[in-house]
């Protein structure tokens, strides 16, 4: 992309249109009036968590800052508390838009690979859909070792007492690491998920087709 085309796209509606088409509830982005109550009401209200708070993301979308929006970790911090939705004077479904943008960034491979929420979500999904049951031990281990072996050991050590407590209380089975429990109809689950993916794909295709 040349500098000229980059400029030409700035503050034009190209990226906004892309968001409106690709992102769930993305057509609400244009309704923001930049009051900032969403950013202020967010309980994860520490500056570092949100490189760009929701209302700023909306402005960046309008400004055509595609790369910055899709690669930021910001919207991955949303905890779905719905405070922003409740407060928004324009009734924007901000929580859903955040998830929508995150999902879109992930879908087109722009999302930051090692962002904890994204990583966890992926891990959880794989973990849960494989057997139809969540294997908590594997899930925790996967998350602990996200940033390498040494860090994983450190994380594990830090949580040692919690883990022992859980084992004692019978809430954690070390044997889960080798296989673990499954749901009764594992094939049925896979078939169900396959169907769900199909429905999702056709819905998106239909939306693209207008």
């Amino acid at each position: 992309m040349s500098a000229n085309t980059a400029l030409a796209e700035k503050y034009r509606n190209n990226f906004l249109k892309e968001i409106e088409e690709q992102v769930e509830m993305g057509d609400w982005v244009k309704m923001c009036m930049q009051c900032g109550v969403c950013s202020g009401s967010c309980p994860t209200n520490f500056q570092s968590a949100w490189e760009h708070p929701p209302q700023e993301l909306f402005m960046m979308i309008r400004a055509g800052k595609r790369e910055e929006v899709l690669t930021t970790t910001s919207m991955w911090n949303c905890t779905s508390c719905y405070n922003c939705i409740v407060r928004c004077p324009r009734k924007l479904p901000i929580t859903h838009i955040m998830h929508g943008i995150a999902e879109y960034a992930h879908r087109i491979g722009k999302a930051p690979k090692m962002q904890a929420t994204r990583f966890f979500s992926g891990l959880f999904w794989k973990n849960a859909t494989k057997t139809g049951r969540v294997n908590e031990l594997k899930l925790s281990m996967g998350l602990y070792f996200k940033d390498g072996f040494a860090q994983g050991v450190k994380n594990g050590m830090a949580m040692q007492s919690v883990a022992l407590g859980l084992v004692k209380a019978g809430r954690l089975n070390v044997m889960e690491l080798f296989g673990g429990h499954k749901c009764k109809d594992q094939k049925g689950i896979q078939a169900m998920l396959k169907k769900a993916y199909e429905i999702e794909r056709s819905r998106k295709a239909a939306k693209m087709a207008g």
Binding site: K10, Y11, N13, R62, R90
Partner: protein, 744 residues
């Protein structure tokens, strides 16, 4: 003068009977006040007391009434004698409520009351009940200048009320600015889309109304006279002049868009593809007449992207462009952006603003634009750079704090420039030098061509608008019977202009009706008194004609003042200005106040009882003093207070008389003057102050200290401050020492 019979009534209610010696007051009225009839009553404002007064009027031939009771602001229904001259001695709020109920205070409190009785008797004797002015006009026709939405609305509404109208329009067609619009901002639920302008309907109503006489291609060549009897010459294109008898005038001369050529940095005048809001309306109209596609002026290509630059040449604190906001451009740009979006949602429309101003249901209109995909960007546009058929709009994105933000390849840029009032000549502008005169590109042309001594047009308030300065009274122009309405008065949209036009029609109708009855307009509405002048004594000094805040007084060929009573607001500024004291009102004159000043009993210099005269504006200072009494905020028993119509009506003779009589000091209490004046006679308090600033010379000739006269700004809320000021001043005067004039 007809025979007068004065009666004095002293009330003993509300504690007056206990705190004061009412019998002594009756005697004072008889002896010092020299009234033939003086009575006290237990409860004067009740039915029995009022009946007693009415009986005396009917059977005793009483013509003049002095009531010693509560403030003139209280019990007005009971003491309502419109046929008689009435004076009120304020013994309650002005005496017993501001004095402590102690034995030590009893003597000075009684003295205070006695003086007020003396003053009341003296005042009422110097008054006559206003008999009404006979020099009235009877024309019931309204002149409306300007055939835009405001003017047409005024004409239609006045006609509906039953008054004939003469409507003068400078161009060859009715409709004005609104006729140039494709659509207007909506005024009904759901406030979502541009609406029809309604201009066609208004034009049809005007043309179909036999009560409205229309002059097109016409201007007002001359306006002579006064409310009820204006004589207006209307010049038409053909060179003919028509003369009309007019009762009252509404000036609805509208506005001109601020010239975008003054904004070259925003591309104004640099490219055909940079237009102002009028330019866009023309493009939209052309599109509507054709295939509905708004096209780029330079090459007729469909507009695919448009940027609206808000506040272009407005809200400029540097003084180069308009300092104000026009209040309508945000909604207008929203409407214009919808022209594009409604026709083709894929057109990129961006509005760059700093504060989006869509009051009331405009918020729904704003929301609707967002729903339609209009993009709002909070930013400050620095530059519009045309380049071939497109432009680049460079701006500071205030949300992302990006100073280098830009929209490139924009097909059309719309500059939201503001409204500039078509208010004619600024009659109070400082005279220009010849060089400055030559530098002015477009010389203002008078709208009304008034023959008034003070100038040809209605005075402007600020920034060229002919607005009223009063928040509570938006229709107060400084030319009685001439009202301005619509954007010439204040920046406004069609909806507000139509309301304004309707209100102005009422005021004009009211003005001509009251002119016929010889009654004053606001703020002394209904007052039947009017200035009388004894021309034999006049020295043609012209002070009255120059100073009248309402331009009511002209000059004849010998430079004698010519009073136009129906232009007069009864403030008395002329009376205050007159050095030879030949101007007076029947119920308010140099004498009615002077007699009160002289009636006060001045104790000798050894008594250690100073006397301070307070002349207090009846609208603000006097109520503040009253309410100080209601709150029992005490002040010195040495003051004697006289309400005055306005500081502007204070004649310096009152001050010299007071000082000569042995008063130790004089306090003048008037409203705030200057740019943010609060004087309801506009310039009254300011003129009064200018006059009093020269009192030092008088004091010098009398060999008196300058502290003897104090000019104070008092507001109606100063219920604590005023007593403090009085007490402080009384204390200061002790230091200055007694007046050397006592006992002469």
């Amino acid at each position: 003068m007809a025979d007068i019979k004065v009666a004095a009534y002293i009330c003993k209610g509300c504690g007056l009977g206990e705190r004061l010696d009412a019998d002594a007051l009756v005697k004072i009225a008889q002896k010092d006040g020299k009234v033939p009839l003086a009575k006290s009553h237990e409860f004067l404002c009740n039915a029995d007391g009022v009946a007693m007064i009415k009986n005396d009027i009917a059977n005793e031939g009483v013509t003049h009434i002095m009531i010693g009771a509560c403030s003139r602001r209280a019990k007005t229904e009971a003491f309502f004698f419109p046929e008689n001259a009435v004076a009120r001695a304020n013994l309650r709020e002005g005496v017993i409520w501001i004095r402590p109920d102690t034995d030590e205070a009893r003597e000075t409190t009684q003295e205070m009351a006695e003086d007020y009785i003396r003053m009341g008797c003296a005042e009422v004797k110097a008054m006559t009940a206003p008999g009404g002015n006979t020099n009235t006009g009877t024309s019931k026709t309204l002149l409306v200048v300007g055939g835009g939405v405001t003017g047409m609305t005024t004409a239609i509404e006045a006609s509906k009320t039953g008054y004939p109208v003469v409507l003068v329009e400078k161009t060859g067609a009715l409709g004005g600015w609104a006729a140039k619009l494709y659509k207007r901002v909506p005024v009904h639920e759901p406030f979502k889309s541009p609406a029809d302008t309604g201009v066609g309907d208004l034009v049809a109503q005007v043309l179909g109304d036999s009560n409205i006489k229309l002059y097109l291609n016409a201007t007002v060549a001359k306006t002579d006279g006064a409310p009820g009897r204006f004589i207006v010459d209307i010049a038409t294109e053909s060179g003919a002049t028509h003369t009309e008898d007019i009762g009252a005038i509404v000036q609805a001369s509208g506005f001109t868009l601020y010239d975008m050529n003054k904004l070259p940095e925003l591309g104004g005048g640099k490219s055909p593809n940079v237009v102002d809001q009028a330019g866009l309306e023309a493009l939209a109209k052309a599109a509507a007449a054709g295939d509905g596609v708004i096209r780029r002026p330079s090459d007729n290509q469909p507009v695919k992207s448009v940027v609206f630059v808000q506040c272009a040449g407005q809200r400029d604190p540097s003084g180069t462009h308009l300092a104000y906001c026009s209040g309508v451009c945000c909604n207008t740009s929203i409407k214009q952006a919808m022209y594009f979006k409604d026709a083709n949602p894929s057109v990129d429309t961006t509005i760059i603003y700093t504060d989006l101003r869509t009051p009331g249901n405009g918020e729904d209109f704003y929301r609707s634009a967002q729903e339609k995909g209009v993009i709002f960007t909070k930013g400050k546009v620095a530059q519009v750079v045309p380049n071939g058929a497109t432009s680049t709009v460079k701006f500071h994105d205030l949300i992302l704090d990006d100073t280098d933000a830009a929209v490139a390849d924009v097909d059309l840029v719309v500059l939201a420039t503001g409204q500039v009032a078509n208010s004619g000549i600024d009659i109070f502008a400082a005279p220009k030098t010849e060089e400055e005169e030559a530098a002015v590109e477009v010389k203002p042309i008078s709208i009304l061509n008034l023959t008034y001594r003070q100038g040809k047009d209605v005075p402007q308030l600020k920034q060229g608008f002919t607005d009223s300065h009063f928040i509570c009274f938006p229709y107060e122009t400084r030319r009685t019977g001439i009202y301005t309405a619509g954007p010439v008065r204040r920046p406004m949209d069609i909806a507000q202009a139509r309301e304004d036009a309707t209100g102005a029609a009422l005021k004009a109708i009211q003005a001509l009706e009251n002119a016929e009855l010889g009654r004053a307009a606001h703020p002394r509405s209904g007052d039947l008194s009017f200035p009388k002048v004894r021309l034999e004594g006049c020295t043609q000094c012209k002070r009255c004609t120059v100073e009248c805040p309402f331009g009511a007084i002209d000059e004849d060929e010998k430079r004698f003042p010519v009073f136009n009573e129906s232009r007069c607001r009864r403030c008395g500024t002329c009376m205050g200005a007159c050095p030879v004291r030949v101007i007076s009102f029947e119920n308010y004159s140099v004498n009615t106040v002077g007699a009160q000043i002289k009636a006060v009993d001045i104790p000798d210099e050894f008594s250690e009882k100073p006397r301070i005269l307070i002349l207090a504006c009846e609208n603000d200072a006097y109520p503040a003093l009253d309410m100080a009494g209601m709150s029992r905020n005490e002040y010195s028993a040495y003051v004697r207070i006289i309400p005055i119509r306005c500081l502007g009506s204070v004649n310096t003779i009152w001050i010299t008389d007071a000082l000569n009589a042995g008063y130790d000091g004089v306090m003048l209490m008037g409203c705030k003057s200057g740019d943010e004046y609060q004087c309801h006679f506009v310039k009254g308090s300011e003129l009064g102050r200018v006059r009093m600033s020269k009192i030092d010379d008088t004091l010098k000739t009398l060999n008196l200290e300058s502290e003897r006269v104090r000019d104070l700004e008092v507001a109606i809320t100063d219920i604590e401050r005023v007593p403090e000021m009085i007490n402080k001043y009384a204390a200061e005067l002790v230091a200055v020492g007694p007046s050397p004039f006592k006992g002469f």
